[in-house]
């Protein structure tokens, strides 16, 4: 086994710089906060710019399908930056989950056509599973496929309210299948759920005899879904690293300039030690997130354990970072007019997203031969 590449390459640094520069102009936190109580909680225009000007909504997608022909490593860098700004865009549902799932079904021409629309930003996608689904969970059974139509209900589907397409796992007469749903079709009901995370929305998808083409079936459908969820869990780790790093940086800035008792708060040793520990945690999170992103470029066996390590580490670390961010800002962090709560909502929700730490540790128990009693 050769060593994974845990650093950022030059192309990745350039990608980071251009995304960061765009977000600085278009996605400062006052804009994010104002948007989250508006009628349009997602910033569709920002997503379009990311697609057309930077070409980063299709990083996973080969060039011949209209994408950037990059891969999970580059997608992870994008996720870091979007996480750092809690950008209200459908990264997870569209550019990660739906794109991965459809790419794994690309023998079906309808699937590869759909991938192109997602890659170019002309459509937004998602995968119709509860957002808490872990990669190793059994294939979902809440939607039934019969007579080429889908019926059933799926709660907490990510990015649902802006999704034009949804990849729907369903059980047909001949077993598991993935179907490509057009969300404007008759029989589709999408009901938003008031979210804890104001910058990433969820909703309940109800399907009543909705026609939808099948894009994969049997073991291939199971593999495609597993692949999409593993990729998403791995990329989410990088999003969490970006968010945690933002929380640390913002806290360090604050405690250097906030004075109490005639001293900068950041000169108090207990504060310093907490931030030093947090910094060490984020350094570690960055290493395992890079490892997961790198492993996703390889075989699924290698990716399994790396993603499980990264998620089980990062999903708790990001909550610690957001909680320290809040606490060390004191009263000001507890106000609505400070962005700390946006970061906390994203961090805490992301802890439950795509499998809790315990769920990922169970994967490790299996893959690492450390059986439960």
């Amino acid at each position: 086994m050769s060593s994974p590449n845990l650093l950022y390459g030059e192309v990745e640094q350039e990608l980071r710089d251009s995304v960061r520069s765009l977000l600085r102009d278009r996605c400062d936190w006052t804009a994010v906060l104002a948007r989250c109580e508006s009628e349009h909680p997602y910033d569709r225009q920002l997503w379009s710019t990311l697609a057309t000007d930077l070409g980063v909504t299709g990083l996973l997608v080969p060039e011949e399908l209209g994408g950037a022909g990059a891969g999970p490593r580059e997608l992870a860098v994008l996720a870091e930056e979007l996480g750092s700004s809690v950008a209200p865009v459908p990264l997870l549902g569209s550019a990660v989950m739906a794109t991965s799932a459809l790419l794994a079904c690309s023998e079906a021409s309808v699937a590869s056509e759909a991938v192109t629309t997602l890659a170019t930003g002309s459509a937004v996608g998602t995968v119709a599973v509860p957002l808490t689904t872990a990669p190793d969970d059994p294939f979902p059974e809440s939607v039934r496929a019969q007579d080429a139509t889908l019926s059933g209900t799926v709660p907490t589907v990510v990015d649902l309210e802006v999704a034009d397409k949804a990849v729907v796992p369903a059980i047909g007469e001949d077993g598991p299948g993935l179907y490509l749903l057009d969300s404007s079709a008759p029989g589709v009901t999408r009901t938003p759920i008031t979210p804890l995370d104001l910058t990433r929305r969820i909703g309940t998808l109800e399907l009543d005899r909705v026609p939808a083409p099948r894009v994969a079936t049997g073991p291939r459908a199971e593999r495609a879904l597993h692949h999409a969820l593993t990729t998403a869990a791995g990329v989410l780790a990088s999003e969490q690293v970006g968010l945690a790093q933002h929380c640390l940086d913002s806290t360090v800035d604050y405690v250097r300039t906030r004075y109490q008792f005639g001293r900068a708060v950041g000169s108090f040793q207990a504060v310093k030690h907490r931030l030093a520990d947090l910094w060490a945690g984020i350094s570690t999170a960055r290493a395992v997130a890079r490892d997961a992103a790198d492993a996703l470029t390889g075989s699924s066996e290698e990716a399994g354990i790396s993603v499980a390590v990264a998620q089980s580490y990062c999903c708790d670390l990001v909550v610690l970072a957001a909680e320290e961010h809040l606490q060390l800002h004191g009263g000001i962090g507890m106000t609505w007019e400070h962005p700390a709560h946006l970061y906390l909502g994203r961090a805490k929700s992301s802890q439950l997203t795509l499998g809790t730490a315990e769920r990922h540790r169970n994967t490790i128990a299996t893959l690492g031969a450390l059986p439960a009693p």
Partner: protein, 393 residues
């Protein structure tokens, strides 16, 4: 000294003379105050009879048993817990007579104007100015995190009267009329979406010198007394097992077997043990207070309360999984009181974050324990003897 039996006798005599059902609520409360059965450890004539503080529960239980109206203490926690003992301790005889009776009966409620955007943990750094003009003081500045300011009739307030003096020595304590036109109250929206607290802007607000509490320049010492009373009020409480957050998640655990996992079980039991241990610790503190051995465990109780509330409410979201991704209501509104059980788990999670900040941050409480209980040396201070106006801010 009065004992429990005698107190019971007094209460019964009072009740025989004032039928709780047949007397106007306010008349009943005023009469109870005048009979010295309001707060029995207060002096005669000010609502008490100089009885031991521990006997207050005897009186309260006697009145409660007859269904007598109470003074609705939850609507005036700051008045009863903080303003009253401070006025008693530092007020003039006129101030005590003017303020304590309507305070106890609930006719006049109170809030506290201490914290400022630039003076949280370091209260002595506050910068609201009070300038003397004849028989009045003119106030300018901003206070923050004021609960009940939008309903309170009066406020206890600390302001800077001598900016050239060292920070702790230039402060003065006032009783501020919240209906003064120079006082503006604005709701302060929190991370939960609601506005439980307020910002209070003072723009030329006027306070007569007769509403100054204590001497000019003594504000810091008196404010410390006020806050000491806050800590006493927070501690104590003879509660049953599985109250509060741990009770909520224990019930969820029992009723929803589909949510259970081995890892969550381990964590639930750890939190249950810690909650139960915190409860027993509070009970021990209560027994020490009753036995006249006041211990310093009150600060530890608040530390544990904050820590456990935060851990358990975070755990609750993980336990609930999908449901933990949602929230009930982000809209800006005024909560009636902090009703943890009626709101969603997400609300409990966010609201608990304040527990380690409000009423003394966990960091400050640890300093207090280290220095006052363990006798560890204070850190080097550079801000004590310098004129306030020259301090870095």
């Amino acid at each position: 000294m009065v004992d429990a039996d005698e107190l019971r006798t007094r209460v019964r005599r009072f009740l025989s003379e004032h039928d709780p059902a047949g007397t106007d609520r306010l008349d009943f409360l005023r009469a109870r105050f005048d009979a010295g059965l309001a707060w029995v450890h207060y002096p005669v004539g000010l609502g008490g009879i100089d009885a031991p503080r521990a006997l207050q529960t005897v009186v309260d239980e006697e009145f409660a048993a007859t269904g007598a109206p109470d003074n609705d203490p939850l609507t005036n926690t700051i008045g009863l817990g903080m303003a009253a003992p401070t006025i008693l301790g530092h007020g003039t005889e006129e101030q005590r007579r003017r303020f304590l009776r309507p305070l106890w009966t609930g006719e006049e409620t109170w809030c506290q104007l201490f914290s400022e955007p630039g003076a949280g943990s370091d209260l002595a750094a506050l910068s609201t100015r009070a300038v003397r003009e004849g028989d009045e003081w003119v106030l300018d500045g901003q206070k923050v995190w004021t609960s009940l300011a939008h309903t309170a009739r009066w406020a206890i307030l600390v302001a800077r009267t001598a900016p050239g003096a060292p920070k702790h020595k230039g402060l003065t304590y006032f009783l501020c009329d919240m209906t003064d036109p120079g006082v503006e109250v604005r709701p302060l929206r929190q991370i939960t979406g609601e506005a439980e607290f307020n910002e209070v802007f003072l723009s030329g607000a006027r306070i007569p010198d007769s509403q100054r509490l204590g001497e000019v320049g003594q504000g810091w010492r008196i404010a410390m007394d006020t806050l000491m009373n806050e800590r006493v009020a927070i501690g104590g409480g003879n509660t049953a097992r599985e109250q509060g957050m741990i009770g909520i998640v224990s019930e969820t655990w029992r009723q929803r077997p589909e949510l259970r996992t081995p890892g969550l079980h381990e964590r639930l039991l750890r939190l249950w043990v810690e909650s139960e241990a915190a409860r027993v610790t509070s009970e021990r503190l209560r027994q020490q207070l009753v036995a006249g051995q006041p211990g310093p465990e009150g600060s530890a109780a608040k530390l544990a309360f904050a820590r456990l509330n935060q851990l358990i409410s975070g755990f609750e979201l993980e336990l609930l999984s999908q449901q933990g991704l949602s929230y009930d209501d982000w809209s800006l509104r005024r909560p009636d009181s902090t009703e943890l059980t009626s709101r969603s788990p997400g609300y409990r999670y966010l609201r608990a974050k304040g527990n380690s900040i409000e009423g003394g941050t966990s960091e400050i409480l640890r300093n207090i324990i280290a220095e006052r209980v363990l006798g560890l040396p204070a850190e080097p201070r550079t801000d004590k003897d310098v004129p306030w106006k020259e301090l870095p801010r």
